[in-house]
Symmetry: C2
Subunit: 665 residues, 2 copies
Amino acid sequence: MMDWTIGVVLTGVLGIVFAIWKAMFIKKQEPGNEKMVKIGKAISEGAMAFLKREYYYLGIFVVLIAVLIGIFISHFTAIAFVFGALFSAIAGFVGMKISVLANLRTANAAREGLTKALTIAFSSGNVMGFTVASLGLIGLAVLFRMFGNADQIDILSGFAMGASSIALFARVGGGIYTKGADVGADLVGKVEQGIPEDDPRNPAVIADNVGDNVGDIAGMGADLYESYVGSMVATMTLAFFSPELFKTEAAVYNAALLPLIIAAAGLISSLVSTFFVKTSDPKKVHSTLSNGLMISSVISIVAFYFILNNMFDKDVAWKLFFSVISGLIAGFMIGKITEYYTDSHYGPTQSIAKSSQTGAATNIISGLANGMYSCGFPVIIVCGVIYVAYSNAGLYGIALSAIGMLATTAMTVSVDAYGPVADNAGGIAEMSGLPSDVRKITDKLDSVGNTTAAIGKGFAISSAAVTALALFSSYTQKVEITALDISQPNVLIGLFIGAMLPFIFCAITMKAVGKTAESMIIEVRRQFKEITGIMEGKADPQYGKCVDIATKESLKLMILPGVAAVVIPVLVGMWDKYTLGGLLVGTMVSSFLLAIFMANAGGSWDNAKKFIEEGNHGGKGSEAHKAAVVGDTVGDPFKDTSGPSLNILMKLMSIVALVFAALFK
Amino acid sequence: MMDWTIGVVLTGVLGIVFAIWKAMFIKKQEPGNEKMVKIGKAISEGAMAFLKREYYYLGIFVVLIAVLIGIFISHFTAIAFVFGALFSAIAGFVGMKISVLANLRTANAAREGLTKALTIAFSSGNVMGFTVASLGLIGLAVLFRMFGNADQIDILSGFAMGASSIALFARVGGGIYTKGADVGADLVGKVEQGIPEDDPRNPAVIADNVGDNVGDIAGMGADLYESYVGSMVATMTLAFFSPELFKTEAAVYNAALLPLIIAAAGLISSLVSTFFVKTSDPKKVHSTLSNGLMISSVISIVAFYFILNNMFDKDVAWKLFFSVISGLIAGFMIGKITEYYTDSHYGPTQSIAKSSQTGAATNIISGLANGMYSCGFPVIIVCGVIYVAYSNAGLYGIALSAIGMLATTAMTVSVDAYGPVADNAGGIAEMSGLPSDVRKITDKLDSVGNTTAAIGKGFAISSAAVTALALFSSYTQKVEITALDISQPNVLIGLFIGAMLPFIFCAITMKAVGKTAESMIIEVRRQFKEITGIMEGKADPQYGKCVDIATKESLKLMILPGVAAVVIPVLVGMWDKYTLGGLLVGTMVSSFLLAIFMANAGGSWDNAKKFIEEGNHGGKGSEAHKAAVVGDTVGDPFKDTSGPSLNILMKLMSIVALVFAALFK
């Protein structure tokens, strides 16, 4: 048995080596001409300035929480918490550092053609994806080696809560930052001064670029890392509460170990599949990425079959197999559904574009209705997973389905993080005045990136939901809730309040984007007024100031919702553990629905605008286009700030409940 | 004991007499000049054409459902169902008939001054309010006299389901009609032809006017009638399941009778308070209406105290008293909170107006965020009611709190239905070219009406939520669910799907408004093209055609969601009664949150636009105003179609579950 955990750690090390190899590959590429290097330096400095300040606040937050955990729960849990946070912070740092390098090099490589540009952008995704998965795997395997028994397994939940804390800062703070900077830059640059997007004369342009790295790469990475780690911890915990399924001590141990083994197999499958992502045909960029995901899934399924039959009796193995693959298939299906509702090749987005012809109001109504419609199938699919997984393997099965969904996280993050790199490469090509055929290649990569980003969002939401569900199930077992009776007023009150919190959370984060944008606007206006020669390109704007203001604002504005997400479950739990149970379910259901609604409404508005820009309904500059721009702007905080923040909310609240369970008994 | 039910019936008769007296008062007022009478006739014909077609579809629907109930449940229940529907249909017919008369007479009376105009508009509200309450009371009292025992009390749920069916048509069909006509009229009239609102040259203008009567008066009336009747039936049912509270047979009988007595007392209090609604000072219109509501509440509270002490032992009486007044106070508080979030005297709406300066997108984001924020306190208040009512008197207490909230329904509907009458009076004044000082008076009445309408919406939503909760509680008792364990997958799946349904329901109704508006636009364009001389005022447009098209479209488009709301609970319940329990809770919580979000976002967009029109941020015609118009248009289906439809969804699904409970055991 000892061999297994060592095997998992070695797999993690292999992943790290792969990530280093990819990082070195990126580093040795040509960064481009002098102007590009200068821009790249500004973005890099901005990104690091954001991370530095974020990690400063994070440091304080982590130390405070660690002390509380140390006092009220246990020292080991506190230490695990610190390591969970630290590993995620390292993954975020590495991912950002490399993606900033890759931005530049992708733009430069696009001068030579598509193949190399795609390879560099995708390699940057690999660095993020494999660092995230490998560090999660190594951390949990080591902790499991030390504390993998019924009495000490709780300690591992500290690690998951550490991951959640970073995700909170990266997703919520990063989300506010990226959209605040984006909206601020657009309103002064495009609207007031009439200069194009990505124009280096705009003082906020670097902040906007930094935001893409901060929000879309580091934020998504931390979010999936949290799901990855959280679902494993939940599964391990539930292994010790499933006596009807695992009858011997050895079987229980294997069940607790299983998530690590499955995740390790998923990591190797992901690694193999990366070698299939290669094309020189612009039309095949999307399909080659999809195939990569598909290959990693197929290899995983085969591996799962052999692993389960090796570790468990045949009948149990089949039950677990169905649970695992139900999650994997569900993740895939929800991705496809997201694509249907947000891609301009399909009816829903086209009908939003069509309704833009009668103005902004009909565009908005149409987008909101589309987002609401799109909640239907994902809910049914998640219910299907709950049904299949539970009827096969009880609560443990539900948790295991989350593992199945997240096993190929390394590949999912790779595909997802590739998009923003391509997007930024386009921005750099624009800013540094590269020829228009370069921009065409980056645009092609970017447009595929938009679709993969939308799919990634759907995947992130559903994995967050099943992870939250798994963590909630662990919570009920830990606090010995045998029945959570919703017809009792205490549970019902919890449910009502829990369902209400995501609405308030969204309201706060949407307002925060507005406030951050406002501060940016004031600063940009000041620079245009006080620094003479910006508009003529004779004087450089102070990019750093804008980065700094957006950083300060966004991190300041995330403190209130962040603290609330940690404090509320603890207070409610101390009042009544059943109310807390209701609260967690309410938040989970409501967050899931709102997150899908917001992500898909936002995604389809964005693509409806692009569809019009391709020349439909009057094309760029038409009345329909103006209306579509309104939808796109509303969609920005929807899909990149408020929506994704709900992923964190539902997981963080559940993990806090699990970590502090000892206080609620 | 027999005396009590006779007393209740007599109270109902008193209410009817009062309504007839008020109707005769309205009828004998001067209808105005020839032009006004002509317009009034067109509106009246349009409204009756809508009702006729609506009642035709309704007739088919009611007969079909009655047959099903007769076959699967019982003949008596089927008969009660038919009467419940019939009484609501009569109330709707009478209310519409009178409000159409009152539109004209209010406009004409405004030529002489405020006092009389207010009296007429408010009297019209009285007719609707007292007809609704009295018919509900009489119907239930007679049925209770016949079937008020443990074995037959189920029959009364048929009456409530009848009320629900009408509410479905009136609120959903009416809601689609009113906003489809409104948006269609505006887009062609204001935007394409550049003629003002309420211009008689616009062929859709009468349809728009009819819509205000159909949606805002008949819809609201049917909605509150449904809550009124539904909460009484739920309370009666629960009286037979509360042995710890009501220990003797006499006490149980009194407990089942109690909702009728309380409602009768509320009716009398409402009647008394109407005499206090009178003012000649334009500044006091709002306060005189508020005072009316306050007076009816205070009288009711005193009456409740004596009633309860007369009917129950002292300790039980106190417990019931706290339950009743918790609902009454909550309804009042939620009204006030709604006012805060939607009235332009307060920060939230002003900040939406402010953010309109930076364009439509920021106006939309700001309005959505405001709507989401506004969910906080109503949820906490409802949770407070659940806590107080349950801890005093269990599930029976929760149902009783709904009775407390709804006891003064006659007065609430009066205040609420007054608004659209004033609004239409303004429209008629405009269309018939009355002098501008007349319009000033109707505008003042209308602006107060907007606030009372917003408050009424908040009240309708919260009363729908507590009614749904009471019906759900009765359902759990009827099907003998002792614990509805949400950590079980079947319940959880129900919860997820239940919470998702309101999103789909909103999407469908929003799209339906768009489609109806589209059909209207095509027809209006046709008339402008084919009928020469419309624009010069030389030829009359074919108003009837527009009314007809909007009627057909809206009723056609409500069939799918309407049937789904009835069929889904039955199918789910036949599969598993626990899943249905989860489904009902999910729908209730999610509907409540979405309904508040949509009503308050819509209300605040509307008033932000009006705030700008008063001269703020550049006033009418400014860029800020244009942006605010976008928000107002998005808000229309939010607050008048999709949001209110959710009130019906949550109640209808619960009442269907209760009526068909016998099939699920």
